[in-house]
Each structure stands twice: as C-alpha cells, then as structure tokens.
Symmetry: C2
Subunit: 332 residues, 2 copies
C-alpha cells in the first residue's frame, strides 16, 4: 500500500507535551527550529551528539551542540548552518601565523569565544552537561539541551591509506578529506563505557514522544544510540523519525558515505530498516519516496510521506507537525 | 661630586658582545628596542619577568614576555606599549556575553591567539621556555627571549580591605585597582623554589655585561631577582642599571606605589641603593637627578647622568649606548 499523504494540520494538543529529540548538528538544529514553531508550548529536551567533539588549539569544540545552540538562539550563520553569523577570522589567521593547529578546520572569532568559555569551565572540573547549560543561559535556545554523555565518546573513521587501515577523527575524515575517502568502518570509541549525561535517561523516560530529526543516521543519531543505556531506554518509547534521505540522496552533508561504511543503502527505506522496528514506531519519508516505501523491511513501522525539504522555517515546522501528527496517530 | 655627563658616542666595539638583560614589560621592551639599535651585532639575551603571568579564561597570559616579543617583532600597539596593533575585541565581547572572565582585563583578538597557542603548548607538556622560543619563531625579536623560570612564580600584593589583609594577584591590584589601594606587601610566591629556566644561568655566566632597563624595580626586575639562583649568579657580573625614576616620579606605570610597599623612596638614588652595590656596578640617572646622586648610599656604584626619557627609538638607543659606555668604562 502507498503511504497516506498527511496534511500539516495538527489534530492534537502539544501544549505541555514532553518531546525528546536525538539530534546531530545542522539538520537537527533546523528541524528543532521547526519543532519549536510547531509546538511552541511543548517541553522539548534535546540529546545532542558529542561524538564529533574535537580538541583544536587546546580548546574543546562541540560542533553539534553549538549548531543547535546558535540556531535556536539566533546566532547561527544561516548560510553555513554552523558557526556564528557576522564572523571574523582574526584569531585563526594569527594562529596560522604561529604555525599551530590543523589548518583544515575553520573557527571564527565569535565561535572561538564559545570554545574558550567551554574549555575554561571543563578544565575547572565542570562536566560538559553543566557547561552546556551555562552556555545556554546566554543563548536561551528554548529547549533543554543535553550532551548525550559527559564521558568522552569519539567518532572515528577507519580509512585506507596505501592499502593499510588508518583511524582518523571523524572531523578529519569529514572536513579535511570531505568524506571522499571511503570509510571502512565508523567507530564510536568509548561509547560502550559512556554513561548518559545527567537528565538524559529522565528525559527519555518522561517523554511523550521521541523524535529523530533528519540527522545523519550513522554519525549523529547512530553515535547517540551507541551509548548502551540510551538505546536501552528508547526500547519502551514511541519513536518517530524523519528520513534524512530523499530520492536516494542525502539532503545535506555526506550521509551516503557514512551509510556505505555500514553497508546500508542510501534510501529512506533502508535507513528505516537500519533503525529497525524495535526503535522506530513511525517514519516520515518525502513524497518522492512514497512509491518506494511499504516494502517488507518496513514491516512494523508506520510510514507517511510528506514534503521533507527544510527549505525554510515554515517547511521545517510543517515537517515537525507531520511527525507529531504521526506520533499522535500511533498513540491512539 | 656631580656625575659626569656622558655623550652617547660609544667608544668600544659591541659586535659579538654578549649582553644579558633582565626585563619587565613596556619599559624593558622599549629599552631593548634601543639596545638593538645601539648594538645591532651584539648577542642579546633577555630574561623576562613571569611573575605577572595570569590565567584568564583558562589561558596562560604572559604580559611581559609578550610586550617584549610584540615590541621587538613589530606587532606592538605603539600607543599602549602592550598588546597588538590593529586590535579588535570580538572574542572578549563574546566572553562577556557569556558572563565569564574577570571583566577588568582587556585582551584583543590577535592577542588571544598568542594565549591560545601558548596554553595549548603548555597543556601538551612543553615548558614555558620552549613555548616562548616557539612563539618567537614567528616574531623574530632579534634577541633570545627566556622566561626567568619555567616554574610558577606569582607576584601577589597584600592590600587592606575593611582593615583586614587580603592577598590579590598582581594584575588585580595593577589593572583592576590601578595600584590606587596601598600595597602592604608584595610577594613573589613560589620564587624561593623556582629554578631558572634553561639557558638563564648560562646567559648570565656568559654575559660581558648585564643590563637592568628602566623596568619596575619591585614587580619586574625585583621579581626576577627573587629567584635565588638568578640573584646568586649575578653576584659575579658587571651590572649596569637605568633608573626608572626621573625627578622623583616613575616615567611610566606606578612604580612609586610598588616602591612605597617596600619602603623605598621614589628617587633614582633610593632605587640604586635598594639594588645595592653588590648588584649594581653602574647606574644611569636622568640629567634632572644629577644633583641628587653621589649621595653616600650610592657609594660603590658608578653613577652617570644622561637624558633618560625614552621618547622615541633614537632616545632609547642613546640611553642604551650610554649604559654600554658606562659598562665599558667600568671594564677598563
């Protein structure tokens, strides 16, 4: 059967609803902006991916947490989807003059201040969750933003170099190599020992709905799910996901390169099957993929097709409304 | 007797001469610029004060080393005498938006890069001397710049607050309180245990002349001398100093407030007596102070009067030439 086409009208009351979202960076942040517009009175908790975190110039950079914080707080560079608006690059060019740093990671002056503040608090002994909360006091993102863990989990990519495997930090593969070198394997180093940050398990337990935005299923949502206690806590919950793949291609970023590394096809159906019916109760795909869904591997997952391009806030809010509507339907 | 008035002509050959200078920040840096002009082929080693060093925003700031490095490397703000030329303050204003930091210490974006690079290397386990050498690879100051010690020595000031003594970091007294609150005591915390940085004792032992620029005798030169092995090594050397006091007032900064704390009058003669004839072989005073020198407490110290205002490079070079000429005279 073909999936039903949803209208974005929301039939149920979201005021006071507790929504927990597992989010990566840019895509997650834009979805969250739409979700806030769609459910302005909901209590939204975001569990952010920290596997991308990297130490640059001795400073702790949390790209995904910052993309969410800046996007929801009004400080994001809209063109990039990451980093600050109205950036200047004085510090970075001075550091280059000293010959320090990797040279392939761009950080603006405004962004540097965030990393300086974060690192200073971390070095003073505060956990990342407390530091994130402190930084959010400035940005007031309108959601409760939690790192998935205060323990270090590092996303690493095994690539081939001269026929030999070499393990690099995710950012090196993603930013320096543009994910153009095939990934043999993607590893969430430290995840098996990582405990969820304070508030994470409570936010999952208390959630009326858990949403997966159209974030990268491997290196964003996948890394969050690699924390055992988080994956276990989700078993009991209603989870609705939004496909990051439209018509066989990632909407943004290089999810196809990540999916290839884990042997999953770049299709909305394959990603849903990868998440699996034990996790996913509902799955939103783009209208373009309406024909392709309903395949056997989607058995047990309710699929709906809607326009999935987050071209503007209105479009993102419509997608969020559709996800909430599907969840509402599944609750009945 | 009145001191002889020197002409700045230099009678002896400075090429290949080994000159070691104990220097604070702004005054030391300007004197060094003059010294380089006066003796362009000398081997100049600078032992810099690190008692002013402070951790701000989790970053290690070395104000005196930086003033020297920037001044001799052509990056200094000439108006201020410290910090970088063409500065912007984006990072600092962002940090203020986060509500972090002391709020009374100004750091520009270019300057921040230095502190980020320094802190990153220190946290990687490199000693301050190696880090300073690395930073100087960029600035090429034309002197060998050594921190007095790789061990932490912190200049602290005991002030009175509500009748009770309170110990503050030197920078808090100097920058936040503008040295307007009387200092009961000035402490070089950690100095008694501090070892000279690698190269410091060799530079003193090998020196043909040791010079004291018109730096603050208490919180700049005094702190360097508080490292026991440095003071001991100087006993055997020809040391010529330049008075930082002209006509009963500090030329720059608030040396009078520091001298008051240790019970020394703000006069060129009193500062020479404070250094003492065991340390000082020669002492340059300003022409205005010609009448006042030759007093008994200057017994054993050769005193000469010359114009001491470092109004421009030419004036600074003339002072340096006079110091070298006096040293030459004392060598004969």
């Amino acid at each position: 059967m073909l999936p039903e086409l949803l209208t974005p009208a929301l039939a149920w009351e979201t005021s006071g609803m507790r929504i927990t979202v597992l989010a990566g960076g840019v895509g997650g942040a834009r979805f969250l902006r739409g979700l806030k517009a769609a459910a302005p009175d909901a209590e939204i908790t975001v569990i952010g991916n920290t596997g991308d975190d990297i130490t640059l110039f001795g400073l702790h950079v949390s790209p995904d947490l910052d993309s969410i914080m800046y996007t929801l707080g009004g400080g994001i560079s809209e063109e990039q989807g990451w980093g600050r608006a109205d950036e200047t690059f004085t510090v970075l060019s001075e550091l280059a003059a000293y010959g320090t740093g990797p040279g392939w990671f761009s950080l603006g002056d405004r962004d540097f201040a965030t990393h300086i503040a974060r690192t200073s608090m971390l070095n003073a002994g505060q956990p990342l969750s407390a530091v994130t909360s402190r930084l959010c006091e400035r940005w007031r993102p309108g959601v409760r933003l939690l790192p998935m863990s205060d323990d270090q989990v590092q996303t690493q990519v095994v690539i081939s170099e001269d026929g030999q495997p070499r393990t690099v930090h995710f950012q090196e593969w993603w930013v320096r190599l543009h994910a153009a070198v095939p990934a043999r394997q993607i590893i969430a180093a430290g995840a098996d020992q990582a405990r969820p940050a304070p508030g994470v398990l409570d936010a999952i337990a208390a959630a009326d709905i858990v949403l997966l935005p159209p974030s990268n299923p491997v290196v964003s949502v996948g890394i969050i799910l690699s924390v055992p206690a988080i994956a276990a806590a989700l078993d009991a919950k209603l989870v609705v996901g939004v496909s990051p793949i439209i018509a066989g291609a990632p909407v943004r970023g290089m999810a196809d390169a990540c999916l290839a590394a884990i042997g999953v096809q770049t299709t909305a159906a394959a990603v849903a099957a990868h998440y699996g019916s034990q996790l996913l109760g509902g799955w939103l795909v783009d209208e373009k993929d309406a024909d392709a869904v309903g395949a056997p591997e989607l058995a047990g997952i309710a699929v709906r097709a809607v326009p999935l391009y987050m071209s503007d806030l209105q479009a993102s809010a419509d997608i969020a409304r559709s996800a909430l509507a599907l969840a509402g339907e599944l609750c009945q």
